[in-house]
Symmetry: C2
Subunit: 161 residues, 2 copies
C-alpha cells in the first residue's frame, strides 16, 4: 500500500505551529504501571520558551503513570461541532515528560506565564498536589484531514531537537 | 493523600452513558510497535448492540499498532469553547480492540447502522483499507470536573462485562 505520509513543507509547519500555539487542552496518552495505554484530558500550554507543558494533579492516574514511565503522546486540535470530525486538523506529539519541582524558582516563572493564558487555573495552581510537566517532543504527526498527513520533527514545530 | 475516586452512583452512570451515546469522535491511545504511547483522533460510534467502535484506515499508524497490540484507551467528551477545558465531563475507556473483517456479513450490518449516525462516512466506508474495530471495554474512568471522579465497570455503562 502506498504510504500517505507527506514530507514536511511550509504549509504543514505553519498549521502545526498554529495548533501548538492555540491548544488549551490536549488528550494525553500514557502507559500505566500495568502496561495499558490510558487516554485522559489534560490542560495544555507553553512555557515562556515555547516548550509544551501541562499542569496536573498527583491525584490523577496519568501523573503516577508519567512518573513511572515518561513516554507520552499528546493530541492537540479539537474537532468542530459540524461535519465529519475527521476533517478537522490535529497534531500528535510523541514526547518524554519531565516534572518541574514546585520548590524551584523556575516553577514561579512558569506559573506566572501560564496564568496569563489560563487565568482560571488560579483556582488550583497553588495546591500542593499540582505540578507542571514539561514535554520534550521527539516526533510529531500532523493530520490536516483525509489524505493530508505529515511526519514532523521538533524543528518543524520551532522546538529544540 | 486521600483518593478522590468516588464509588459508582446513578448520576455517574447516567453521565457516562450520555457521553458514550453522544460521542462521534474520540482520542485513541495505542502502544506502537516500538513501545511508545500514541494519541490520535478517530471516529467513534456504537454497534447495533451498543458496543463502542471506530472505523479506521490501515494506512493510519494506530491501525498497525492495534493489530500488533490490542490494548487501547479511548477518551470521549469534548471540551467546550469557553471556560476551563477541565470543567467539561469526559470518559476514559480501557479496552481491547478487535478488527471486524470486511468479508463477514456482520460488516454490512455494522456499516448500515454506522451510516445512520455518521452519514459523511459514506465517502470512504467502501474503501478496501477501512475496517471497523470493536472495543471490548473492561474499565472506565469518568471525570465530571474537578473533584468528581469515578471508576466504572462495563455494566455501569450498559456494556457486557
Amino acid at each position: 500500500m502506498k504510504s500517505p505520509i507527506l514530507p514536511a513543507d511550509d504549509d504543514a509547519r505553519e498549521l502545526a505551529r498554529t495548533l501548538l500555539a492555540g491548544a488549551r487542552s490536549a488528550a494525553l496518552a500514557v502507559i500505566t504501571p500495568t502496561g495499558e495505554p490510558m487516554a485522559t484530558r489534560v490542560a495544555f500550554g507553553l512555557s515562556p520558551e515555547g516548550t509544551p507543558l501541562t499542569l496536573v494533579s498527583d491525584l490523577a492516574p496519568h501523573s503516577a503513570a508519567m512518573r513511572a514511565n515518561p513516554a507520552v503522546s499528546l493530541l492537540l486540535g479539537e474537532p468542530g461541532e459540524r461535519g465529519d470530525p475527521l476533517i478537522h486538523p490535529r497534531l500528535t506529539l510523541q514526547a518524554r515528560a519531565a516534572f518541574l519541582s514546585r520548590n524551584l524558582p523556575r516553577h514561579e516563572e512558569v506559573a506566572a506565564h501560564y496564568l496569563r493564558s489560563h487565568p482560571k487555573a488560579r483556582l488550583y495552581i497553588g495546591f500542593a498536589d499540582f505540578s507542571f510537566v514539561l514535554f520534550a517532543v521527539h516526533r510529531a504527526h500532523l493530520n490536516g484531514g483525509f489524505g493530508r498527513a505529515w511526519t514532523l520533527c521538533p524543528s518543524d514545530l520551532g522546538l529544540p531537537a
